[in-house]
Symmetry: D2
Subunit: 341 residues, 4 copies
């Protein structure tokens, strides 16, 4: 086997992104796309290039030619498709979060394990070359033991109001990437989450019981402390910066600017803004994400982000929500008990 | 009156810094230095240039030629000298913190007020050109309403162990500058302080009941949130960065490097580290601090940092200590009640 | 017509690069590859994906399905293939330089013109997003009238010795890109070229009658002056920077670093080197280059770099060689006379 | 002797700058200021602090208390004062250029030598911490053998028209600093100068037979090549950058910005402009320049820039003028012959 045959379930924005990247990859073939709605694919390159476009995901799961499925459907359908795919012996790349329900997520960990299929959760940022270099620098011990880990993560603009209700809330929808990044960067598990949050950007968030701005403090098993700052609206562009500070130094990744051009006039010196759209910012990361998934299957190697990573980030998102609701620090240990997990 | 005659009380490191800057200033004259110990001034420029060097601070306070005193002695003597100076009608520049005791600090606010003298607390960073431009950018509304305010403040190396016991603890000794910076940058009052802290740098801090690493979250009256990260040891130099993020943009000040030189070789590209020593980093700020104090007296203008600013930063330092001790968020309102202030 | 069918003549490094980019493009199809040697394509994606792989370029030119040819063969064969392709009514993308002989290059300008086919010369750097923004900033008048234009262009390492003899010399092989960039940035024609050059990097260049280091001064019709500095070896990576300085300001593009990561330790602060390999540095530019070629054909629009641009850059390369040989400034007008062009 | 007693001859802008810096220095005392005009010093700090203010420079030279004179008068008076000062056994700090006449400059080299006094020429930029670090990096061999040396040197705005006539022309007035910097950075002597220059900024320069924009190429004895670009008007501020590129790497110094503040909004990211005024940009360099002069006298150490350095920069300025006038490269060897020096 030199390439992986893929079926995509869910042809929304992220499903189409993966579809396009698969078409451009030498390691993956796109054999099928399944979605409840497929009209929007008419006349596109997918109609020309993809052998099967169907409204029945079962057809994808039953196709013996297909090695792996990408689950890009709405979050509430993930568990069902993961179980079916695992049962069918397909490797799985599933978008984040695995589910909104920690117990269900925990359950699929076992299902996947028993099925012996590869499972990668869609934490695309782990594949970003800048962040990966930061993580590797930490792992190589170049900055010693981490003491303070910082993530600034701010979207360029809020999602539409109709998106918010089904998003699982900011912590589950947006901060979950930062929770994962914290574990990735620290090489340690989080023991406590403490949230200060507010509705400062747009009242629609409060209407949906959600927040749009937060500062989240984390405590790690290895003694390090972390802080995430989030906003749903950075008017100057998608702001994605990280820093790890340790007893031997610090390592940081700055934003990727649109260009390296600097314009100097009598009034000002201007430089370019960060890339605005997450698909621009993480373009290469999305490509690497699926190619490394393919390579892990082809060479039977471990994955960079597993179902367990997906579970732990969800655990932190749940703890964050509780911390915000009860205005107190939440120990993950305590949280386990409360939720009987 | 075109210049201010100054007497300095306390000829330690910071007292001598001010002495040197006064000698180089066109607005201030150095008429006297008083300290318990004055042997270390023998043979220095101060012996040649300063008319009175004495072990009796009273002589400074009684000298009718002297317009203002700089109180640079140990913190536990501040209150006594402030009261005496105010009584003598001298303007006062007092190093931070005003005292370790909030009630005493509060008391001198009234003393100063009644005496009608100018009082400036030594928050030198307000005079730093970088930070001042950030504050002005916020005040001019260029980034809209502040949502998130961040201060990274890390010393290059820990103080000697014997210093720690008398320092008032990290929050009162070091973070107090950051607490003041937060009020300066936000243009708003803090309502709540929440601390995560640890002893990660050197066990001597724990031996003295102190911490060396902290992440401190603040809530402001105007809805903004703030976060300070502190370390007693940044091996790459004195790390002093700030950022204010608002609904119309963001403004940030980066470190001042030792030089702007970049060296590119086959192995690496290296740039210079931040200035290592606080006297280098804030050299210009210390000069501007005393010149603006002089100007405020000469032109009877308001001061950039007042006794009230000193008091409020101490209040936050006390709240931070309580937050750390009791591992909970501390509301400043609650704190007022507890301490009957 | 919604896509362009392409045949590639010449399957060396640059031919394969275009082949790979065509496979990933939605605007171009790869119908054929022709080369004297095709063994190296066995077992590659090209064998699987490209309908015709042949040792006879004529088959490509005769194929009525093919709309455009990419001429990526050795420079001495360009003229022959351009003439044949134009005669066959194929649009042409030709690698630089068009030829080593100015009169022959001039001749093909007319051939192309008469055939009415589109012709794009492979000045990939015009499609680089950074350089393009600089050019656009100049065109929009944001920096006023250009006075000084600077190009730093340094290869990471010398080519193999066997490459040098057939390269046409550094000015024709390497500086030709910078000559074109100068015309692109200035929006003006060059009137004079003055070269200081030397053999400092490797004696093999002198053995082949070539140089490896140069400073080249240009005078423009509009009064501006330009300077190019070249080296065949920048040990820290591929160094590609430009700057345009005018009476209302300046605009500059810096290198693209491998990552935005900064590592701070007790010894140094290190940042990442520029991308090392030209295929990395200009990856996106090579993709845009062929897609814009396709769009220009599909929408019958003008091209960003034409045969005339190719000719003028060659003229400058010839003038540069003469300037170096005779150690004097060479007027392009004089050059025209000398060479009867 | 622990301090140097100084008399200043010439109380214009640069004379007053040195006067102010001497007052703030612990190594130098300001004993006298002499100028034809001294009315402008009335009521200033100089009147209060300087024992002798006189219209007769002879009184300064005759004063046995005075160890050193700073010659800050108009260039045409330099030779006369240097000779008198040397005869009087005073050490000399002389502003650049030493004279407009190479033979006279050469003559004073001998006078100084015979008198055995220290002589420093006012190339303040050698004392700039950024440029000095570049020079030291080169000297330490960190970038190997220099191949290409670049200096960008652009004034923020043109001088008044009345200044131009007496300035000696742009090469002698402004580029002379860059000529010296080239020798300082390269550690090698220049053998050839080649100039392209124009009048692009303001027609007043042409009216005075001068230019305002130039690109100057240099050849060094050690094989390296250099290029200077000059403009009399960079509307965004005083632009002063250098770069040395060698076979083992490169080292560069960028401008000093007014602050390190970055403002990000929906429209743009702006950073601060370079310091605008040369007295701001080189504030520390001017201070270090006189303190190192004092130290060299007090400790009998060699100077960082000598009369010979002054002479050689003037030689290059003369060669540049000739190159521009005759539109050809000028060998300094040839120049020696022509001018019988």
């Amino acid at each position: 086997m030199t390439t992986i045959n893929v079926g995509i379930i869910g042809a929304g924005r992220i499903g189409q992104l993966h579809a396009s990247n698969i078409l451009n990859s030498n390691l993956l073939n796109l054999n099928a796309i399944a979605d409840i709605h497929t009209d929007h694919l008419k006349g596109t390159i997918y109609e020309r290039e993809v052998p099967m476009i169907t409204n029945e995901p079962e057809r994808v799961l039953e196709d013996p030619e297909i090695d792996a499925v990408f689950i890009c459907s709405s979050t509430d359908s993930h568990i069902r498709f993961i179980k079916a795919a695992a049962k069918a012996g397909k490797h799985i790349l599933c978008e984040k979060p695995i589910s909104f329900n920690l117990e269900e997520t925990k359950e699929v960990l076992q299902v996947i394990n028993e099925a012996g299929v590869k499972f990668q959760v869609g934490f695309n940022r782990r594949f970003d070359k800048h962040f990966r270099k930061v993580a590797e620098t930490v792992q190589e011990g170049k900055i010693g033991n981490p003491h303070i880990i910082k993530v600034s993560s701010r979207d360029p603009e809020p999602p539409p109001e109709e998106y918010i209700a089904g998003s699982g809330g900011m912590f589950m929808d947006m901060t979950i990437h930062d929770f994962d990044m914290m574990r990735y960067l620290s090489g340690s598990e989080v023991t406590e989450v403490s949230v200060k949050a507010a509705n400062l950007v747009d009242p629609m968030f409060a209407r949906k019981g959600d927040v749009d701005t937060a500062i989240i403090t984390l405590t790690f098993e290895n003694g390090a402390m972390g802080v995430i700052d989030n906003s749903r609206q950075a008017v100057y562009g998608y702001d994605q910066r990280i820093e790890v500070f340790g007893d031997q130094g610090a390592v940081a990744a700055d934003n990727e600017a649109q260009t390296n051009v600097q314009i100097s006039t009598q009034n000002a010196i201007t430089i370019d803004q960060p890339k605005y759209f997450f698909l621009d910012r993480y373009k290469d990361a999305y490509e690497d994400e699926i190619n490394e998934f393919a390579t892990a299957i082809l060479e039977d190697k471990p994955l960079l982000c597993t179902a367990d990573d997906g579970y732990k980030a969800e655990l932190m998102a749940n703890a964050a929500k509780l911390s915000w609701e009860e205005q107190r620090s939440v120990s993950l240990a305590e949280f386990h008990l409360v939720h009987k997990i």
